[in-house]
Symmetry: C2
């Protein structure tokens, strides 16, 4: 193991919780519901925000959040990530603080970070505010592999794997799920990582955080989400370097615009054998079907 790998102190919360409800026949029904817990993220002891999460992957969620919000750039910046459910907190400590006693925003060359943390006005996405210009510039620097190919067969494989995967959603509803799948070799279509959360953005961030920590490249992967393909979802997929974004749901105009701009192959309304291929069509391969019943 590299000596640079951050130390993780991680812990999941129970995913479901049972309560009684009364149905339309007046019967009492024991009903599983999804857990939701407040998790406050601290960076070098500075409170950043509180996320409401299912609590399945809090350390990776913290990492993915910092990465996708472009607060930190390199996993090497991080010394440790410590989850503590007693206080509902996850504390991320930089090497700058751990090894030199200097908070990361006070370290040399990090002046922009302090301003970024102060001005962190973006919550549900970005726009023509002061953050937008920066983000679009960054997106334009992302290059997704033009030669990557997704076959219809692999698409169906992914949908089938996801459908059969054990999930909290099947038990309790009320959560969104994301899956990182392989698009290479004999494991093509296999689910490599599956995360559910109350909010679809948290589920994406938890996968992004895992990829970042483990140094997993996105170019030979497929990303599936139950959530809608909005601008933020497409941006995160691009930031993870994944050229294929699938959802059983629909999409928005800005999600579509950004997908075209960064060159993502976006396929929505995936259900059974149905799908709609929207962007990046050159990467999609529909094989001729053979006449099996």
């Amino acid at each position: 193991m590299s000596s640079k790998t951050p130390i993780l102190v991680d812990e999941a919360r129970p995913s479901t919780f049972e309560v009684d409800a009364i149905n339309e026949r007046g019967e009492t029904v024991a009903t599983p519901i999804a857990g939701e817990h407040a998790l406050t993220l601290y960076l070098d002891k500075r409170e950043l925000l509180t996320l409401m999460t299912l609590g399945a992957a809090p350390a990776h969620l913290a990492l993915g959040y910092l990465r996708n919000q472009r607060i930190l750039r390199s996993i090497d910046d991080i010394a440790s990530v410590q989850v503590d459910w007693e206080t509902g907190s996850v504390a991320v400590t930089s090497r700058s603080l751990a090894e030199h006693g200097t908070a990361i925003w006070d370290a040399a060359g990090r002046e922009a970070l302090d301003e970024r943390l102060e001005r962190r006005t973006v919550t549900t996405g970005c726009g023509q505010g002061t953050v937008f210009g920066d983000l679009m510039d960054e997106l334009d620097r992302i290059v997704l592999p033009g030669g990557a190919r997704l076959t219809e067969e692999t698409l169906y494989e992914v949908m089938d794997r996801v459908r059969r995967h054990e999930s909290i959603y099947k038990v309790a509803g009320a959560v969104h799920g994301c899956a990182l799948c392989s698009n290479a070799g004999p494991e093509r279509g296999d689910i490599l990582r599956f995360v559910e959360d109350v909010g679809r953005h948290n589920a994406v961030d938890a996968i992004a955080g895992w990829m970042w920590l483990e140094g997993v490249d996105g170019g030979d992967k497929i990303f599936y989400t139950t959530g809608r393909l909005t601008s933020e979802m497409v941006i995160k997929c691009a930031q993870m370097g994944i050229p294929f974004l699938l959802s059983r749901s629909g999409l928005t105009q800005m999600g579509w615009d950004i997908a075209r701009r960064v060159g993502i192959t976006m396929i929505g309304r995936c259900q059974g054998k149905h799908y709609l291929l929207f962007t990046g069509r050159e990467r999609f391969v529909r094989l001729p079907t053979t006449a099996f019943a």
Copy 2:
């Protein structure tokens, strides 16, 4: 009209946008998708955040956001709300600035506001961070009418009205909808206000903003959402003073906890004749059915 009513300069964006997609049969399908636009909110020229929105009710969304985030307390604080899609912005100007040239956070008695705006760390909810204690205290001060009653008949009336309501969702998917319904008199069950947005929280905020602006009381109303009943949804419903919260979706543990704490009657998984009554059961009235086929 009261001279205290804020001036609104409002404008909706087109709700749907059509793009071509290729389906599993290789056919090109003209597909409507939901609009999504960046809207940056300014308060007395200070940039607060950028919301991604369908753009159906931007002025009310801005008002509701400020109200539900407890940034402003009284509608009388506000002189104007001006939406400008050219710059993707909505500028809220306080009476303090408009009439006295003083930004509201510099006005007497508003010291806490500046700190609140700086420390606005809460994005997807609240928790054990520094904001949590304040929010729970505020929730405990909310008193919802214990004597309010919702009959099963009215519940079904609401579900039927919502089902039949024209919506972007039916056309383009990818949006959440919220409806404010009457629970009084002959219009019981009628939809008074219906808003859709890319994010369910924006849809709620737009209704909250409208109620705040128009001085509409929530005590004799019902709130329906297509979105899941998470902590934030329940909190907002309580802040609007509405005792009945309905959803076709599920709920989370914290949503359930908070519903019990503030005394909301929460009914989830509403679909056709099915529903699950979770909390605040004393307000719900199931009438004996007569034997109609």
